[in-house]
């Protein structure tokens, strides 16, 4: 057992750190630090900086624009990026549809779609959930009916995150209504500009426009936009669920969140003292720091397994459940730290009448209730672990 990083790995960490420190634009850095949502332009600007360095899709095979890094290097990269407050790359292109296309797509599709993902020329969004299909994803009812060289798509996709920015959407659609529910599903790419596609904002409780409903009304999609074979969509969906799950805990980001809470709590006055000296608050901080340490070592254990050629199995579910709980706990601590100053409602992109750092405290606490619900709720993750780990 050797839990040290090698000299080369440490040098790599320095390289990533130096890169972010030099290249992350100051305005984006500040917004990230204040927990403000970024605009489309800001996301794309940062992703293009990464692309220029060749780091926008590090885990991809080299032939498609990846880096060829080891699992440990990929971990270090994510850890440093999170720790430095660099915006996470929007996952829908780089971490979801991209890997699906290079794994299941044909050469034509690879040539057509992958370069624009690598270079952030095209913004993707995800069409999985539906108003009637949440945790039971396979019950989806959006229909795609073959008509000559086209599929005709009808239905509604729910929770389309940042769909208002998107150029393309990847969808799970039902192509065989008579097959068993997992077996009649296909994976389809749809241009958002196609007639019949409309995006309807869904405002979440903090007041932000982050998610949408996407409606499809007789949308004609060329057959060549099908990925893999017809009715193979569920296999692709399952592949994505286990792909790139070691960073699901986002330790670097958790550590940055903790540093931020500590920094602000050290300035919040409580009579003659400051909040961070208050025993109850200090205990919560210590508590969360200990939990982050435990999770970090679990991530490293999984990483060691992957490095030796294993695949992360049910551990991904553990990391998802515990990582998201900690993310939520962090927003809760910042809200508590803000106290009365968290009262003021601040619309997306607006200024608070109170201290700058408090503007998003309540909004992010509200918004982060999502993390234990999306991507397979905590309860679904526990069902997965009960089956895979406990054999129940």
């Amino acid at each position: 057992m050797d839990l040290e990083f090698s000299r080369e790995e440490l040098a790599f960490r320095e390289e990533v750190r130096a890169f972010v420190s030099e290249k992350l634009p100051a305005d984006i850095r500040e917004k990230m630090d204040l927990g403000q949502p970024l605009t489309k332009e800001e996301h794309v600007r940062w992703q293009k900086i990464l692309a220029e360095k060749g780091w926008s899709v590090p885990s991809w095979p080299v032939e498609y624009g990846g880096t060829g890094w080891t699992p440990t290097q990929l971990y270090i990269y994510d850890d440093e990026m999170g720790s430095a407050g660099a915006p996470p790359v929007i996952a829908f292109g780089a971490k979801m549809v991209g890997p699906v296309i290079y794994t299941f797509g044909n050469d034509e599709q690879k040539k057509r779609y992958l370069p624009d993902i690598v270079n952030s020329n095209v913004w993707w969004c995800q069409g999985y959930s539906e108003p009637g299909s949440g945790s039971d994803l396979a019950s989806l009812t959006t229909r795609a009916v073959r008509d000559g060289d086209h599929y005709v798509v009808n239905g509604i996709k729910a929770w389309t995150t940042l769909g208002q920015h998107a150029d393309w959407i990847f969808c799970l659609v039902r192509t065989d209504p008579n097959a068993k529910k997992q077996q009649g599903i296909s994976f389809l790419l749809i241009d958002m500009k196609t007639p019949g596609v409309s995006v309807h904002p869904v405002i979440t409780m903090e007041g932000d426009h982050e998610v949408n409903e996407t409606h499809f009304e007789d949308v004609r999609v060329p057959v060549e936009n099908l990925i893999g074979k017809e009715n193979q969509g569920w296999t692709i969906a399952k592949y994505l669920l286990t792909h790139e799950r070691t960073n699901v805990a986002n330790i670097g980001n958790l550590k940055r969140g903790l540093r931020r809470v500590k920094r602000e709590a050290a300035k919040v006055k409580v009579g003659d003292s400051v909040l961070i000296e208050t025993p109850a608050f200090a205990r919560k901080l210590a508590d969360i720091e200990i939990q982050i340490t435990a999770l970090e070592f679990t991530v490293l254990r999984v990483l060691s397994k992957v490095q030796r050629g294993g695949a992360p199995g049910a551990e991904s579910s553990l990391l998802k459940v515990r990582g998201t709980e900690l993310q939520q706990a962090m927003t809760e601590l910042l809200l508590e730290a803000a106290g009365y100053e968290a009262f003021a409602y601040v619309p997306e992109g607006g200024q608070s009448v109170n201290a700058k750092w408090t503007a998003r405290a309540a909004a992010n606490y509200f918004n982060y209730r999502k993390v234990t619900i999306y991507g397979g709720s905590s309860e679904v993750q526990k069902n997965i672990m009960a089956k895979a780990v406990l054999g129940l």
């Binding site: 057992m1 839990l3 720091e289 490095q307």
Partner: protein
């Protein structure tokens, strides 16, 4: 970054497993539990012959120079067998103090500890100290060339049968001063040492000890006069890491036996493990177990590197205290009425994990210590 074990470490684990399988069948354990001393000197000699008592000591001190990971493996396996010999306190804690002392002390005590001829224990807790190692009211008054010890010590694990007690006593200052504490080696049979032995609720044996004008010489001092606290603290932190290993072993049995039981036990015509409420409780056990194991590895590394040991030990103690409670309580709950009985091993593991939290400072105590260490 590699969490795999070496060939030697796998062999070591196998040898402990073999011992547990052979010498700790449930019947043999029960007989030991009901014996006077509560453990077996023969087993202790076997530990010495197998080299376990030599594991955490440098070759120069007569040990075999194992690292903290080796010790972890032994304790994890002993934990799975609910082994009753006070290995943790006798070897890791007492030995941890001795190996940090001067050469003269080491050469006087370590050979008999490593050889298994004398069993050591540590008497530090007092009626008013709760978990603070520095709260010491036992006094050691200097009279000429001698020291005279008087005071009361609580919960000395293995103290009923130990041959030598390492006692913290105050040579200067007042009850809560961090300096002024000196450690002494006290022969348990010496006049003035009154031991009240008892069985602990988790099946170990311990003693409360009254020291009444116990006369010692300067040769009995372990480590520096007045500055014994740091020795005691470092050894206690190393012991906490060993305790963490034992706890992880205990937790593994608790959670795995619960899963196994719910696959067998039928109610309403189906195995109770098919019920989602029970499944999720067991998944929580699994997650707590894995997090504890991760924390154990982290702290084990800290023992070997010597970097940040105090904080790592406190973090681990918080983790195992809380995880142990969840895993233990869930184990009993999911076993239902059968979990309440003395007959099933699960209740014995539950009792052990419960006392592990209270030993050397519970989770609340270490959460405060962790934050105060900054």
């Amino acid at each position: 970054m590699d969490f795999s074990f070496s060939e030697e470490q796998n062999l070591l684990r196998d040898s402990v497993k073999k011992f547990v399988d052979k010498s700790y069948t449930w019947d043999k354990r029960k007989a030991l539990l009901e014996s006077d001393t509560g453990f077996s000197r023969d087993n202790w000699r076997a530990f010495a012959e197998l080299g376990w008592t030599a594991l955490p000591f440098a070759e120069a001190d007569g040990g075999i120079g194992g690292n903290a990971l080796d010790t972890m493996i032994v304790l994890e396996e002993l934990g799975k067998g609910l082994v009753l010999e006070p290995f943790l306190v006798g070897v890791i804690f007492a030995g941890g103090i001795l190996k940090r002392a001067d050469a003269k002390t080491k050469s006087k005590h370590l050979p008999q500890l490593i050889g298994g001829e004398s069993i050591y224990s540590v008497a530090y807790a007092e009626p008013t100290s709760r978990f603070d190692l520095f709260q010491v009211e036992t006094t050691a008054k200097k009279e000429g060339q001698s020291y005279v010890l008087s005071g009361k010590k609580l919960a000395v694990i293995g103290g009923n049968a130990a041959d030598v007690l390492i006692v913290s006593a105050r040579t200067s200052g007042s009850a809560r001063d961090k300096s002024g504490i000196t450690l002494f080696a006290v022969d348990a049979k010496q006049p003035g040492v009154q031991r009240t032995g008892y069985r602990t609720v988790d099946g170990l044996h311990a003693a409360n000890i009254v020291l009444e004008s116990v006369k010692l010489s300067a040769d009995d001092i372990i480590g520096p006069v007045d500055q014994g606290l740091s020795l005691l603290e470092s050894a206690a932190d190393e012991t906490i890491v060993g305790l963490g290993a034992e706890a992880v072993g205990v937790m593994q049995v608790l959670y795995e036996s619960t899963v196994a039981y719910t696959k067998e036990r039928k109610q309403f015509g189906v195995p109770i493990g098919s019920f989602q409420v029970l499944q999720h409780r067991m998944v929580d056990q699994y997650m707590e177990y894995e997090q504890s194991k991760s924390m154990l590895y982290m702290a084990t590394m800290a023992v070997d590197s010597g970097q940040g040991l105090a904080k790592a030990a406190s973090a681990l103690k918080v983790q195992i205290g809380r995880s142990g409670r969840q895993i233990g309580q869930a184990a009993i709950q999911n076993h239902g009425g059968m979990g309440m009985t003395e007959e099933l091993p699960v209740s014995h593991f539950f009792k052990r994990i419960t006392l592990i939290d209270l030993f050397l400072g519970n989770a609340d105590y270490h959460l405060d210590r962790y934050r105060q260490l900054g």
